[in-house]
């Protein structure tokens, strides 16, 4: 079976995000960008499915600027087979991304779309669910374990209160949570090999779907700052302070 993995290029999770002084957004100039960590987990899972002989081909797709090629190359170095870059210089909302991905699914015909549960820039946690709905496919979000069994997959999900297991008929959309796996580091030989793997270059216009924004960002501001308090000497002083503050 073919697995499609959508990957997003985002600000690296270690970077301290700064709001622009003019409140139009966050400062992305000269900051380190990486693959969204949840997408890395999705790529890892797809590659493991291939290594187990369950998946036959792993295709990664990214929608973003020219530089998102690097993100695709990272996935190829981890073991994905080929990439598709849909170039867009503007940010597209999850609804538009889901529509583009649905068009890619129509062309590629994967049995599973494995993707991140959330992109750590917009923190939307929406695209996978929307793609599943547009395709009329079942979804299994926040996966911590995926077992493919012929025409269906058994997926353990991280839910409020514990874990839930669903059985979804394939094709299905699965979104990865943190505990699904620990992504590998690409080895140098695999990074070299990835340079020769094909990336299909597309633009949003190639798919003829409406990706016009529905949301306007009026402003982006800093959250209220929390100032550091005091260090206390010992546990007894701590208890006294907490009583004073009225919280115990």
């Amino acid at each position: 079976m073919k697995v499609l993995v959508p990957v997003k290029r985002v600000i690296d999770y270690n970077v301290k995000v700064r709001v622009k002084p003019d409140n139009t957004g966050v400062d992305l100039a000269n900051v380190k960008m990486s693959m969204n960590p949840f997408c890395e987990i999705a790529v890892e899972e797809a590659v493991r499915l291939k290594e187990k002989g369950v998946a036959t081909e792993v295709v990664v797709v990214s929608i973003g600027p020219q530089q998102a090629q690097e993100t695709i190359r990272t996935a190829l170095a981890m073991g994905a087979d080929r990439g598709i870059l849909i170039q867009s210089e503007t940010d597209i909302e999850p609804l538009g991304i889901a529509k583009l991905l649905a068009a890619v699914v129509a062309e590629e015909g994967p049995s599973m779309v494995l993707m991140g549960k959330q992109a750590i820039d917009g923190d939307n946690n929406a695209t996978g669910q929307m793609l599943a709905a547009l395709l009329g496919w079942p979804q299994a979000t926040f996966a911590s374990e995926v077992a493919v069994d012929g025409a269906s997959a058994s997926v353990t999900r991280e839910v409020d209160g514990g874990l839930q297991t669903l059985s979804v008929a394939l094709p299905a959309v699965v979104t990865a949570d943190l505990r699904l796996n620990e992504p590998r580091f690409a080895s140098l030989p695999n990074i070299m090999k990835a340079k020769k793997k094909p990336i299909d270059m597309k633009t949003t216009a190639d798919y003829g779907v409406d990706v016009a924004p529905r949301l306007t960002v009026l402003k982006v501001t800093e959250p209220p700052k929390r100032s550091a308090g005091i260090k206390v000497e010992d546990a007894a002083t701590l208890v006294a302070k907490l009583k004073e503050a009225g919280v115990i």
Binding site: V26, L95, D123, Q129, E158, G162, T216, P223, A228
Partner: protein, 310 residues
């Protein structure tokens, strides 16, 4: 404008997250209905009717709705949306799972985790792990929204809304519930708790987590939380994770034991009223947000704290 709130419930009662979502809905409109979709959830439907400010409760009853499977809830909600301008879910694992599906079906851009309602089209939400807040305006005629529950007070009791049965449409059987393993606990629920004690990687093992973090939580009547590192290492169940991609909490008292204070963790607790940090590294970033910091080895500090609490 008419607003539908999709309730989160256990069959017998509605979760506090729903009361908070109702508050956000009432900021949009006075016409707020609550949908209780479930299997044998008449108790929850009655409870929803008792929330102050609710106009009407819609009760969809069907076997497929028993476990909140997204496809089944979608089939119940989408037909109702002809009569509503907005649908709101709590931004819980359940709400986040379903809301975007509904949005896609309605061809709407969903708005995730709002913390403020400016007007019927304009909302504030955190982005980048809460390091920035965006004010966004939607041009969609219908709105699909999830609500960060820590940002809204719970609507109280005292309502007496009528309960009406609505159809539970058949959903495709392509997603089937198999089983669930829920963490049993007599402690308060993490998301709405007044006090939270969380343990981090420093705690070192599940046994130590049980022996040190849980008794302190019990002594304080607190819920138990954990950092991602503690959950990944198996010291605590996944459901305990506090942070950007776990639970967001804002208790009156948050005690972080052996947690460094990575931005992803702070994203889930920095709106707590009083933050206490116990960490042996005086330079740990957690101290930059802590009201009271104790630079100490937790192995001695926590027993001393238990003793001082009496």
């Amino acid at each position: 404008m008419a607003v539908l709130v999709v309730a989160e419930h256990d069959g017998a009662s509605v979760k506090d997250a729903t009361n908070k979502t109702v508050t956000a809905a009432l900021a949009l409109s006075g016409d707020v209905d609550v949908l209780v979709a479930g299997s044998g959830a008449a108790g929850a439907a009655a409870a929803a009717g008792a929330i102050a400010g609710v106009r009407r409760v819609l009760h969809a009853d069907g076997a497929a709705l028993g476990h909140g499977v997204a496809e089944a809830v979608e089939a119940a909600v989408v037909p109702l949306m002809a009569g509503y301008d907005a649908v709101l879910f709590a931004a819980t694992a359940g709400g986040k799972n379903i809301a975007p599906r509904i949005a896609a079906r309605l061809d709407v851009s969903p708005i995730s985790e709002i913390i403020e309602v400016i007007d019927g089209n304009t909302f504030v939400r955190p982005i980048y792990a809460g390091n920035a807040l965006e004010t966004i305006q939607t041009s969609d005629a219908k709105k699909v929204i999830t609500v960060r529950t820590t940002a809204f007070a719970a609507a109280g009791a005292g309502g007496s809304a009528p309960v009406e049965a609505v159809a539970a449409a058949d959903a495709a059987a392509s997603a089937q519930f198999v089983k669930e393993e829920m963490v049993k606990s007599d402690r308060p629920e993490l998301a709405g708790a007044k006090r939270v004690v969380s343990g981090g990687r420093a705690v070192g093992s599940a046994e130590e987590f049980n022996a040190v973090i849980e008794p302190l939580a019990d002594r304080l009547g607190a819920a138990v939380g954990a950092s991602r590192a503690a959950v990944d290492a198996g010291y605590a169940p996944n459901d305990y994770q506090v942070g950007q991609t776990g639970k967001v909490v804002a208790p009156e008292l948050y005690v972080a034991v052996g947690i460094s204070g990575a931005i992803q963790h702070l994203a889930g607790m920095k709106d707590s009223k009083i933050i206490v940090a116990i960490n042996k590294d005086a330079d740990a970033p957690i101290f930059q947000v802590a009201d009271f910091g104790l630079v100490a080895d937790y192995k001695t500090a926590v027993p001393e704290l238990m003793a001082a609490l009496g």
